[in-house]
C-alpha cells in the first residue's frame, strides 16, 4: 500500500528571545492509509509540534530546515503558501482534534454554526446540505438528540459529548489524515474507553490515516499499529506496537513502560525515569538522552556519539545511543 504521509528529515526550530531553540530534530516516519501511528513522549518532547508542522500551525517564529519534506499524497505541504493550498491541509485533507474539546470550540458560537462554517469552506455545498451532513455526523459519533446539540454551545455539553462533537466536526470534511493530539487525556476513564472505541470504528469505516499523540502507553496499546517514541524532539525508537511494548530496546521506552503502575502489585513504589527533561535552551549535545541514561558517563564518549536509528528487528528501529547506554550497565 502506498504511503499516505511521509515525513522526511524534519527539523523544527523556534526563534525566541533567548535564542533559536530546537523543538524537533531529524524526524522521519511514514503512515499508510487506514493505519494508526502512535507518538508517545513526555511533555515537551515535540509530539504536538510535529503534528502541527503537518498543518503548518506552528507560530510565526518557527523555522523548518530546507531539506525537510512532509509529503501528503505526493505534495510537499511544507511548500504550501497560498490560501487554497493551506486549506487542503487545514480541515480539508487533514483534520485535527485537540486535548481540550471545550477550548477547541469557540465558546460563544453554536456548535452547528462552527460545523457549517467549516463545511462551506471545504466543500462545494449549500447551507442546508452542510446542516444535514453535520447532524448526520453528530449522530454517527453517538450523540443523542443531534438536532438539539447542533443548536447548542460547547459549554452546554458534557465532556465526553464535547469530544464526540469535536470528532464529528473533524470528520465531517472527510479528511484523509486525522491528527489526534491527546484526545482522551482530559476525559475520565470510562469516557476515554468510549472515545477510543469510537475513533477505532471511524478509522475502520473511513480508512483514514491517524497520528495519535499521547503520553499514555495504555492508550497506545489499544489504538496504534505503529509507535514512535519521542524524546527531546528526536524519535528514539519506532516500530510495530506489539514489538515495541513487548521488546523495548531504548532505555527511555523501557523507563516509560516501567513507570506504569503494576496492577498486580500496587504496593510497589512507582518507578519514574530519573532526572528531568532538560530545558530546550540547555539541550544536550550528541545523544539527547544521555543526561538521563541510568549508566551514563558524563566524561565519556556518549557526548560524541551521533544519534542514528538502527534496525534491530525487521521494522523495529532504535537509536544507537540508546543501545550503547543500555549496554554500559
Amino acid at each position: 500500500m502506498s504511503n499516505l504521509l511521509e515525513v522526511k528529515n524534519l527539523d523544527v526550530k523556534f526563534d525566541t528571545d533567548e535564542g533559536r531553540i530546537t523543538a524537533v530534530e531529524n524526524i522521519s516516519f511514514t503512515l499508510q492509509q487506514g493505519k494508526v501511528l502512535g507518538i508517545v513522549g513526555e511533555s515537551g518532547s515535540g509530539k504536538s509540534v510535529t503534528a502541527k508542522s503537518i498543518m503548518q500551525l506552528n507560530p510565526g517564529n518557527t523555522f523548518y530546515n530546507n531539506d525537510a519534506q512532509i509529503i501528503l499524497e505526493n505534495e510537499n505541504t511544507l511548500n504550501f503558501v497560498s490560501k487554497e493550498d493551506l486549506r487542503k491541509i487545514r480541515g480539508g485533507k487533514v483534520s485535527m482534534i485537540f486535548q481540550e474539546p471545550m477550548a477547541s470550540f469557540a465558546p460563544a458560537i453554536k456548535i452547528g454554526k462552527q460545523m457549517i462554517e467549516q463545511l462551506l469552506i471545504h466543500r462545494d455545498i449549500n447551507k442546508e446540505d452542510a446542516k444535514k451532513i453535520s447532524i448526520n455526523m453528530l449522530k454517527r459519533v453517538g450523540i443523542a438528540d443531534a438536532e438539539k446539540r447542533f443548536n447548542q454551545y460547547a459549554f452546554e455539553l458534557s465532556g465526553g459529548m464535547r469530544q464526540r462533537a469535536m470528532i464529528a466536526m473533524a470528520l465531517s470534511t472527510m479528511p484523509k489524515l486525522l491528527l489526534a493530539d491527546e484526545p482522551t487525556t482530559a476525559l475520565d476513564v470510562t469516557i476515554q474507553a468510549q472515545v477510543i472505541d469510537l475513533i477505532k470504528d471511524i478509522i475502520r469505516e473511513y480508512q483514514m490515516g491517524v497520528i495519535f499523540i499521547t503520553h499514555d502507553l495504555g492508550v497506545i496499546a489499544q489504538v496504534a499499529d505503529e509507535v514512535a517514541v519521542m524524546y527531546l524532539g528526536r524519535i528514539v525508537e519506532k516500530g510495530p506496537v506489539n514489538e515495541i511494548l513487548k521488546n523495548p530496546k531504548h532505555p527511555y521506552t523501557k523507563g516509560l513502560l516501567e513507570a506504569l503502575p503494576d496492577i498486580n502489585n500496587l504496593d510497589e513504589p512507582l518507578k519514574p525515569i530519573p532526572g528531568n527533561i532538560p530545558s530546550p535552551l540547555d539541550r544536550p549535545t550528541g545523544c539527547v538522552f544521555r543526561t538521563r541514561c541510568p549508566h551514563h558517563n558524563p566524561e565519556g564518549k556518549d557526548g560524541k556519539i551521533e544519534m542514528k536509528l538502527i534496525e534491530v528487528e525487521p521494522g523495529h528501529w532504535v537509536d544507537q545511543c540508546g543501545i550503547q547506554c543500555g549496554q554500559n550497565g
Binding site: 500551525l57 477550548a103 460563544a108 462554517e117
Partner: protein, 337 residues
C-alpha cells in the same frame, strides 16, 4: 424569558441599592465638613458687610431644617431626589439646584459620553490591529502613543493645546461657547458654535480614555488570540477576516463592554480639572467650585449624586447588554432556551 426579566429586575434593584449607599456616603461626607449650611451662608453674608449673631445662625438652621437628626435629613434628601427629582437649594447661591444644574449637567454628560464614544470607536479597531500585528512596528508605534496617552495628565494636554492655540490662532479656545452665544438661547448657530469649541474638551478627555481603552482591547485580543479555539478554527481552514472577527474579536467584546462603566467613571473624574482649565461652564467646573471654593455641600452632593447615578445606570445597561449578547451568561440567566 421570565428568568431574563427576573435578572433585569434583580440587577436594577441592586443598582438602586448601590445608588442609595453612595448617596449615604455622599451625604455623610457633606455632614463631616465642618460647619453647616446656615453658618456658611451667614458667614458668606458677613463678608458682605452685615453683622450676624449666634441667634441668627440658630434661626437659619431651624429654617433649613438642620436641627433635625442626621438620618431624618438623609431620608428627606434622598426621597426628595428620588420621588420629586428635587435636589433642594444651594447653600450659598440660594438658588434651586435643579435650575442651576439642568443645562450644565447635560453638557457634562454630552461631553463625557461623546469622549467615551470616540475613544471606543478608535480603540476597538486600532486595538485589534495592534494585537494582530504584535511585535511589529505598527504595534510598537501604537503602544508608544497609547502609553503617552496614559502617562500624560489631561490637564497638561489641555494646557499644551491652549498654549498652541493662543500662539498660532490668538484664541485660547476655552469655554464652551464664544462670547456672542454665551447667553443666547439654543439655536442651530449656537449648536455649531458649541461644536467648534467642544471638540477640545472632548479631545482632551477622549485622548486619555482612548489610550486606556486601546490597552484594554489589545490585551483582551491577545488573550483570546492565544486560546486554543482560535488555533482550532485555523486548523479547520478558517482564514482572514472571519478568523479575526468571528473568533477572538467576538469573544473579547464582552469584557470590552464591561469596561465602559469603568471608563466613564474615569472620564467623570478627569472632567472637573479639565473643565477648570478650559473654563467650561458645565457641572464638573461647578463641582470644583462647590467643593473647593464656596464649600456648598448641597450643590456638591447633587452633582456627585448625578455622576454616580449615571455610572450606576451605565453599568446596569452594560450588564443587561452582556446578558443578551453572551450566550454563556444568557443561558445562565435565562436557563436552557
Amino acid at each position: 424569558m421570565i428568568n431574563f426579566i427576573q435578572f433585569t429586575f434583580t440587577r436594577a434593584f441592586l443598582a438602586f441599592i448601590t445608588l442609595l449607599l453612595v448617596c449615604f456616603i455622599v451625604f455623610s461626607l457633606m455632614e463631616l465638613v465642618p460647619g453647616t449650611c446656615a453658618e456658611r451662608y451667614l458667614a458668606f453674608k458677613n463678608t458682605q458687610g452685615s453683622s450676624i449673631t449666634v441667634e441668627d445662625i440658630r434661626a437659619e438652621e431651624k429654617r433649613l431644617g438642620l436641627d433635625k437628626p442626621f438620618l431624618y435629613r438623609y431620608g428627606k434628601w434622598v426621597s426628595n431626589i428620588i420621588f420629586k427629582g428635587d435636589f433642594g437649594d444651594s447653600c450659598i447661591l440660594r438658588m434651586n439646584i435643579n435650575e442651576l444644574l439642568s443645562g450644565r449637567f447635560l453638557l457634562s454628560l454630552a461631553i463625557a459620553i461623546t469622549a467615551l464614544l470616540f475613544s471606543y470607536i478608535i480603540a476597538i479597531p486600532v486595538g485589534i490591529i495592534s494585537a494582530t500585528t504584535r511585535y511589529k512596528s505598527i504595534d510598537t508605534t501604537l503602544k508608544f502613543i497609547s502609553y503617552l496617552g496614559i502617562a500624560l495628565p489631561n490637564f497638561l494636554v489641555a494646557l499644551c493645546i491652549m498654549l498652541f492655540m493662543t500662539v498660532y490662532f490668538g484664541d485660547t479656545m476655552t469655554g464652551l461657547f464664544s462670547k456672542d452665544y454665551e447667553t443666547a438661547p439654543w439655536s442651530y448657530n449656537k449648536f455649531m458654535d458649541f461644536l467648534s469649541r467642544a471638540w477640545l474638551p472632548i479631545f482632551v478627555l477622549g485622548w486619555n480614555a482612548t489610550a486606556f481603552a486601546l490597552q484594554t482591547v489589545r490585551a483582551l485580543m491577545l488573550d483570546e488570540n492565544d486560546k486554543l479555539y482560535v488555533m482550532a478554527a485555523k486548523a479547520r481552514g478558517i482564514t482572514g477576516m472571519s478568523l479575526l472577527w468571528r473568533y477572538p474579536a467576538k469573544h473579547s467584546l464582552g469584557p470590552v463592554i464591561n469596561s465602559i462603566g469603568f471608563d466613564l467613571n474615569r472620564i467623570f473624574s478627569a472632567l472637573p480639572i479639565v473643565a477648570l482649565i478650559l473654563i467650561l461652564t458645565e457641572a464638573g467646573a461647578l463641582l470644583i467650585e462647590a467643593l473647593a471654593r464656596s464649600n456648598d455641600q448641597q450643590l456638591a452632593g447633587a452633582i456627585i449624586f448625578l455622576l454616580t447615578a449615571t455610572i450606576v445606570f451605565v453599568n446596569f445597561v452594560t450588564d443587561v447588554i452582556l446578558a443578551i449578547i453572551d450566550p454563556r451568561i444568557r443561558k445562565g440567566v435565562m436557563g436552557g432556551g
